[in-house]
């Protein structure tokens, strides 16, 4: 079969698997609520609520209907983008998520860019002398950034730079004295597009500490991935061949080893970042950054089940899609992948 056809078949199979996984996640979340010990009404109202209130809520949530009917409703609502109403505020859950997602994405993307630049630089710096001081420092850097509890690292950064030195704001996304920029919900883009200097300044000042913290914490993944794969590439036959042809070391590293090392880096970081972003986003709570994790924490403390369920399903869907996209990207870029 030609390469083109093979690639298309692989893409098709991978894309077909994604909705299956999404369906599985949604069903799991649904099932968990129903098989979890205890009555969900108890969880929402507490065991001492009067019987009439309990019955009313049971009917409102559709919990009095058979399980199969409930499941049908849940899936069909999900397909229509309806995630139910918040117990605490009666707002649609989809609206809450739409409001807070841009904040998370803005923080996440800025941090990832920073992480890639710093992590790849640290990982690359050790290559001149394997097992040398720089290389070992890079390895320790990778482990150290992983071992730091993200929310604690954020607290220390906040304490030093915001509380003691007072250079940057303690938390929040935008100065309360200003009107936030409108449009896409991405404040950096919006304020740039509007050409509003004070809005941009406020956005950047609030974004700096959270993005820098998250970026440095995630940079260890890039550092580790590049260091390991670069070393593997440098030990391979084609690098040996290039060296024996008399090519300079710089050319061997940059033109032969590096391109081959970067592809696995893409796969590894894609997977790891997707799985780590949940833990790392806890720094939203530390910095009161009004993103999805901050909302999740709020919903947890209010025992607002529909919001928790909605956020989990949406974030899980995003992670599955990112994983699939990274897979597809690698398949497109790597001429060797055959399935």
């Amino acid at each position: 079969m030609s390469r083109r056809n093979e690639l298309l078949r692989y893409l098709g199979a991978r894309l077909a698997l994604a909705p299956l996984m999404l369906w599985l996640i949604a069903s799991l979340v649904f099932l968990l609520l129903r098989v979890a010990p205890g009555d969900p009404i108890d969880a929402l109202l507490g065991p001492k609520a009067p019987a009439a209130v309990r019955a009313a809520l049971r009917q409102q949530l559709g919990l009095d209907q058979p399980l199969t009917v409930q499941y049908g409703h849940f899936i069909s609502n999900l397909l229509h983008g309806d995630l139910g109403l918040s117990q605490a505020s009666q707002e649609p859950v989809a609206g809450i998520i739409r409001q807070s997602l841009p904040a998370s994405l803005e923080l996440g993307v800025t941090a990832l860019l920073l992480a890639a630049v710093v992590g790849l630089a640290v990982g690359f710096s050790g290559i001149a002398r394997p097992e040398g001081k720089l290389d070992l420092a890079g390895r320790l850097y990778g482990i150290g950034t992983y071992a730091l509890p993200p929310f604690w690292a954020a607290m220390l950064v906040q304490l030093v730079f915001a509380v003691w030195l007072g250079w940057l704001p303690v938390g929040g996304r935008f100065p309360p004295s200003l009107l936030p920029p409108t449009g896409t919900g991405f404040y950096l883009l919006d304020s740039l597009r509007a050409g509003n200097w004070s809005q941009l300044q406020g956005t950047v000042r609030h974004l700096t500490l959270p993005a820098a913290t998250l970026g440095l914490l995630l940079s260890g993944i890039f550092d580790n991935a590049l260091r390991l794969n670069l070393r593997r590439a440098l030990a391979s036959d084609y690098v040996e061949a290039a060296r024996s042809r008399g090519l300079g070391e710089a050319r061997v590293v940059l033109r032969h080893a590096l391109p081959n090392a970067l592809l696995p880096v893409l796969t590894i970081t894609g997977i790891t970042v997707a799985s780590l972003i949940g833990g790392a986003l806890l720094i939203e709570v530390t910095f009161s950054w009004p993103g999805i994790a901050f909302r999740l924490q709020e919903a947890i403390s209010q025992r607002d089940y529909p919001v928790v369920q909605g956020i989990v399903v949406v974030v899980a869907a995003l992670v599955v899609m990112v994983t699939v996209l990274v897979d597809l990207l690698v398949a497109l870029l790597d001429p060797r992948i055959r399935f």
Binding site: L17, M21, L24, I25, L28, V29, L32, L33, A36, P37, G38, A43, E131, L136, R139, I143, G144, Y146, A147, L148, P149, P150, F151, W152, M155, L156, Q158, L159, A162, V163, V170, I221, N224, A225, L228, R231, R232, A235, P264, T267, I268, T272, A274, S275, G278, G279, L282, V285, T286, L296, Q297, I300, S301, V308, V312, V315, A316, V319, V320, T323
Partner: protein, 302 residues
């Protein structure tokens, strides 16, 4: 970092393994540091309840007689928190709690994941495919998200927190064990054993378990490091353990509200304890991995 698939360690003799122990390399040194740190935590975990019982240390929940938010002093080396409880004692007591929950969670994950993976890999067919799809889906989800859902549903409590953590790690053991089982199944010596009349249980026990067990210790240590962080994350979100149990994550959540006023001691010590424990477990796992794979310079990346 976690959930990596490891190369089959060749069945090396103990003498050969000891010979590979080269403390001059970074992995060797890391492994030593890791052992030291983890042992120190285990010791603290054992001695703290004893010291509290004997009255050498204060009760981690008692604090009404103390001044609140007192800075570190001779009376309270790490200061007191918003209820006047001693931060040192709470931090020390937290190590026992963390180790306990993580140990229970990982043992549970092992007990569920390993047999399931062995069966799935050995049986193959649609059972295998279904289980793989399910486990892959769970594996794709961010670790914290999955345990947040479970901890939210199960409520607070020690077994509940362990159960919420356990589910996260089952897919990792399943994957490693399943892939190795599927590989070993096709080997000639298994074929030979089967033709001699060996039943599936014999084959699973005799050939699979021994091959599989070599890759488990590394995964276990690295997962323990991860689980400490996840447990802390749960506590920080107000989930996991009951409020009466001193736990680093929930102590940090409480420290957060006082942080803008410059109270640093309630935030510093519990987080530091968590960081050093995770560091120790990561060192141990990394060192163990290079040691078992017999190659100190090259690690498996994925």
């Amino acid at each position: 970092m976690n959930g990596a698939s490891f190369p089959d360690a060749p069945a090396a003799s103990t003498a050969a393994l000891i010979q590979r122990w080269q403390p001059r390399t970074l992995s060797g040194r890391m492994a030593r540091w890791g052992v030291g740190i983890v042992l120190a935590y285990a010791l603290v975990a054992l001695l703290t309840p004893l010291a509290i019982h004997l009255g050498v240390l204060a009760d981690p929940n008692a604090g009404l007689d103390n001044p609140i938010y007192a800075a570190p002093s001779w009376g309270h080396w790490c200061g007191t928190d918003r209820l006047g409880r001693d931060v040192c004692v709470r931090t020390l007591a937290g190590s026992g709690v963390a180790l306990q929950v993580v140990l229970i969670a990982l043992l549970l994950a092992l007990v569920v994941g390993v047999p399931l993976g062995m069966l799935s890999g050995y049986l193959g067919g649609w059972v295998d495919r279904l289980l793989v799809l399910l486990m892959d889906t769970l594996y794709t989800l961010p670790v914290l998200l999955l345990s947040v859902v479970l901890a939210f549903l199960l409520g607070r409590g020690l077994p509940n927190a362990a159960a919420a953590l356990c589910v996260v790690y089952v897919p990792q053991y399943f994957r490693v064990v399943r892939n190795q089982s599927a590989q070993v199944k096709a080997e000639l010596f298994v074929e030979a054993a089967r033709s001699l009349g060996a039943g599936p249980i014999w084959i699973l026990r005799r050939y699979l378990l021994r091959n599989v067990i070599t890759s488990v210790p590394v995964l276990l240590t690295l997962n323990a490091a991860d689980a400490v962080l996840v447990l802390g994350g749960l506590g920080f979100l107000g989930l996991g353990l009951p409020e009466t149990i001193p736990e680093w994550g929930s102590d940090l959540q409480q420290a957060l509200t006082a942080l803008p006023t410059g109270i640093w001691w309630t935030a510093l010590y519990p987080g530091l304890a968590m960081f050093v424990l995770v560091l120790g477990l990561s060192f141990l796992g990394e060192g163990l991995e290079s040691w078992l794979s017999g190659n100190d310079t090259e690690r498996n990346a994925l």
